[in-house]
Subunit: 241 residues, 2 copies
């Protein structure tokens, strides 16, 4: 009997040093809103999305005159002087088809840069849930689901998505760690109405004050995309199966 | 209207730097088995329990000739040459009444030493759940529930206990953060049969291999104690109301 592979959930980037990143496929999760928008952008034909850590790095691309779109978000808002932030509605086909986007966000790009030692890094969101799960099942590798959280704090929306993946993979092909078990159980409580469940969180309250309820609703749509963004060098591109 | 106090859950000691420890009462939680045994020992008349970080510190007390009991646990086992580890059955009235115990454990004492800036530090376990909740309710302070976890990793049993406290306090006197909400929801799934729920965890499997199932059963007893251990200087003693 072959030993089952591991399915682990890293609940915040602050816990990443505890995991064996090199021996795992990493899924980066930042549901509100970076990874949802990245999935939507790649689905809509963006040629590539380049994740950078700092606003200054993002701005530096302007000087290069490559015609890239520049996206910068901090604390939930578009940074002054940039084309857009991480609202999924900025990543429509009309806006991004054929374009390259340089993106920096508060949490998602941070989590991604801490995971670069992974065997492979893909981007997950409710938008491409089934596509991600099907691809993961076919790999037969250890999986580490990295929740971007909020400034290294645990958050519920990223954990719920980790639970959605765990529900589909654990017990069959993978052995779940405690955090994955917890995430799957929370998802079982929430999945009938994710939006209602998340209403009780403090994060939801904060996002509401930012006036982005429509974004939130959109990010909780399941399986409206089939593209899986994958890191190739320093660029996120569409995974070719 | 007075603003509600915060009720936060620190899911592993690795996340402690994110919290405002100084402005909170901290509850240390290490269900299997350190804080359960500490509660049971203080309930059974131990004069004090001195938590130390290192096995060597614990051993140093032997040289002092004070007649203290020396307890040292690492990786779930009693360290060679010590009176006992952290099995609750070592903390019976017969063994500990009137005694002072020096204790070092893998996770619980570590979490405690990282929290010393708190307004007050108490020790929680299912054994004294109601006593802890009633006392916390009466304090009207911010509360930080610190899960000792396993070597800085998230674990379910400590999180469930944090959820048990949250269920009794949140919405009434305190505002819960996302981790506290998650903990309470997990507890709602598990509380009818904690032992059955925890059987699915990897930690449970590991503890079973150590042959301590009787300890596990004992640590899941609710409200068999009314004593609350509190840190006074470097000693845990019985809280006098």
């Amino acid at each position: 009997m072959t030993e089952k592979k591991r399915l682990e959930v890293c609940l915040t980037p602050a816990l990443l040093p505890l995991f064996d990143i090199e021996d795992s496929i990493v899924v980066i999760i930042d549901i509100f809103r970076a990874t949802s928008s990245i999935c939507y952008g790649i689905e809509n034909g963006a040629e590539a999305i380049i994740p950078v850590s700092q606003v200054e790095e993002c701005a530096a691309y302007r000087e290069m005159g490559l015609g890239y779109l520049l996206a910068a978000e901090r604390d939930g808002k578009v940074v002054d002087g940039f084309d857009f932030g991480n609202s999924p509605f900025s990543y429509t086909k009309q806006k991004v088809n054929g374009k390259t986007i340089v993106l920096t966000t508060t949490n998602g790009t941070h989590a991604l840069h801490l995971s670069t030692e992974a065997k492979r890094i893909i981007i997950g969101s409710f938008l491409n849930l089934t596509a991600v799960c099907n691809w993961l099942k076919a790999q037969n590798q250890n999986i580490l689901l990295v929740c971007a959280g909020w400034k290294n704090n645990f958050n519920l929306e990223d954990t719920l998505f980790a639970g959605a993946i765990t529900e589909r993979l654990a017990n069959y092909t993978h052995t779940a760690d405690d955090a994955a078990i917890a995430a799957a159980d929370l998802y079982s409580l929430a999945k009938d109405d994710l939006n209602a469940y998340l209403k009780k969180t403090s994060h939801s309250e904060r996002l509401k004050q930012l006036g982005i309820e429509a974004d939130i609703d959109f990010c909780l749509n399941v399986d409206v995309a089939t593209a899986i963004p994958v890191l190739d060098g320093n660029r996120l591109v569409r995974l070719r199966h």
